[in-house]
Structures are given as structure tokens and as C-alpha cells.
Subunit: 165 residues, 2 copies
């Protein structure tokens, strides 16, 4: 077993390097932008908002911690902290899972639902303004396609597909 690179590393071509710069700039700017927008208008960062969205779409607004973490692409640890905070806000409550004594369900409260409904229009508007009102229909399809390919390569091996929709 050896660690040295099998060959001279294949560097990025000019086009690739350029695309990579563009990608990094765009994604960090967007994430920052959405974080600020939501922090200002809803009092929480983007990831936390995403958790509420997930819960709002789940049956009975409840979801097991692990499932929620997987859907949101975050670690269980991070989720624990996040839910603790959201619980303090009164937007989520924890419940013991009846079928598995280890388990917890995160439950979006009515108040959490209200907060979400109040924040959603502004958030959608921000997302629109940053992306979908700027791209052609064609480009939106291309973006989805590209991101799918990326995800395939990054998804932990054997992650249970189908993973979206």
C-alpha cells in the first residue's frame, strides 16, 4: 500500500479552473446572501429554515431525527444542536418515538408553522431573484442535471435512492 500519487497530478484546464472559480464564488455568495436574508427576516440561518421546511412537508409534521438529518444532508450531531435551538424558540418539539425507544421525533409546532409561512414568501423571492429569474428554462434544466451528476458522485455509497422528490 503506497500513498504517493500514481502519476503527475492532472491539474485543471483553464476552462475547468475558471468554472471552478465561478462555482466557488457563486455558491458562497448565495449561501451568505440567503443566510443573511433569513437571519434578518426569520431569525434563523438557512440550514435551520431547511429543517422547518422538511418537517412541514412530512406526514403529521413529524420526522425521525436520523431521517431528517439525512434529508437535510447534515450530521445527527448538528441536527441535535439545531433542534435544541429550534425547540427553545418553540418552533419544534421533541417526542419519544413509540416504536423505538431510542428514537425521537421532531415535530413542527403550530407556532413554527406560522413562522415558516411568514418567512417563506421572502425566502422564495430571494431565491428567485438570485437564480430562477435570471436563468433561462434551459439553464435551469442544465443546472439540475449537473447537480444530479455531482450528487451521484458524492452520495455515500449505497445511500438509499431514490433520494429526491
Amino acid at each position: 500500500m503506497s500513498n504517493e500519487p500514481a502519476t503527475e497530478p492532472r491539474w485543471l484546464s483553464d476552462e475547468e479552473q475558471y468554472a471552478w472559480q465561478c462555482y466557488l464564488h457563486a455558491t458562497t455568495l448565495l449561501e451568505d446572501h440567503l443566510d443573511r436574508q433569513l437571519q434578518r427576516d426569520a431569525g434563523m440561518p438557512h440550514v435551520y429554515y431547511g429543517l422547518l421546511v422538511q418537517l412541514s412537508r412530512a406526514p403529521r409534521r413529524r420526522m425521525r431525527m436520523t431521517e431528517l438529518a439525512q434529508n437535510a444532508k447534515i450530521t445527527r450531531s448538528r441536527l441535535s444542536h439545531a433542534i435544541a435551538r429550534l425547540e427553545k424558540n418553540g418552533w419544534v418539539r421533541r417526542e419519544n418515538c413509540p416504536s423505538d425507544k431510542r428514537g425521537q421525533n421532531a415535530h413542527l409546532t403550530d407556532e413554527g408553522m406560522r413562522v415558516l409561512e411568514k418567512a417563506a414568501p421572502g425566502h422564495v423571492a430571494a431565491v428567485r431573484a438570485a437564480i430562477f429569474d435570471r436563468l433561462s428554462t434551459e439553464q435551469i434544466g442544465q443546472l439540475a442535471e449537473i447537480c444530479q451528476v455531482m450528487t451521484e458522485g458524492l452520495q455515500p455509497q449505497g445511500a438509499d435512492l431514490p433520494w429526491l422528490r
Copy 2:
């Protein structure tokens, strides 16, 4: 001056919503992946690595703090902390700016350069494996184009273009 939305919010279409999910998943997975890869192989997160890259490309491996922050798309505060950490590692050193007594130059040390050179091949390989070896030439162009459009809408108004390359 009123705050209510002028009209019913325009929600995302199915295609847009799908693309948005794909985007969020792909970008968070990639960022996590690169963070882990670099943490493991180079002892620093992706953003910090990006700072070293910027410095390595600058004349005399030096750059003013504000300029570095702008290029890396992070706040000056965040940069201060980051440079403090990198300085502790011996990879960067601060120097007073001769022309402006308020200013500081971040200087990539020889040791920092070695760390960077050692980490670069693995990092490029990871980026390749996640993106560029999976996308067609056409898609790479599309990605760059899309990210450019996004960036245009997010760049702080009047940011001094031309901003890349």
C-alpha cells in the same frame, strides 16, 4: 412604505423546485466532502486552503487583508480569525504595510507553501472526482455560465468589475 408582498408570492415551479433541491444537495455535499478531505490531508478546512491558494498566486506571496477577504468572499473579521490560526501554524505571517500604517499584509511562508504544494494534488483529485471528471465539456461551460449569472445578481452593488480571472 409598506412591507406586505405586492401580490401573491410567485412560488417555484416543479422544475424550479426540483432544480433547487438538487442544487442544495449537491453544493452542501461537495462542500462537506472537500472540507473533510482537506481537514484530513492538510489539517485545515476548505476556506483556509483557499486563502493559501490566493496568497500563493499573489505577487511576492503577499496580499492586503481587505483584498484577500474580498477575493475569498469572506468578511474581514472572519479573515482575521483565519489568519490568526494560520499564523499559529506557521503557514502565514503578518507584516505591517509600509504605505498604510493601518494595513497588514498576509504573507505565505515557505512552510505554508510546502503545505500547500503537498495538499494540492489530493485536493485537485477530489475536485476532479466530484465534478470535472463527471461532467462533459459542454456541461462545464454551462456551469460556468450559470454561476456567472448568479454572481452578477449577488455581487454587492457596484463591486469593482472585472472581478474574475
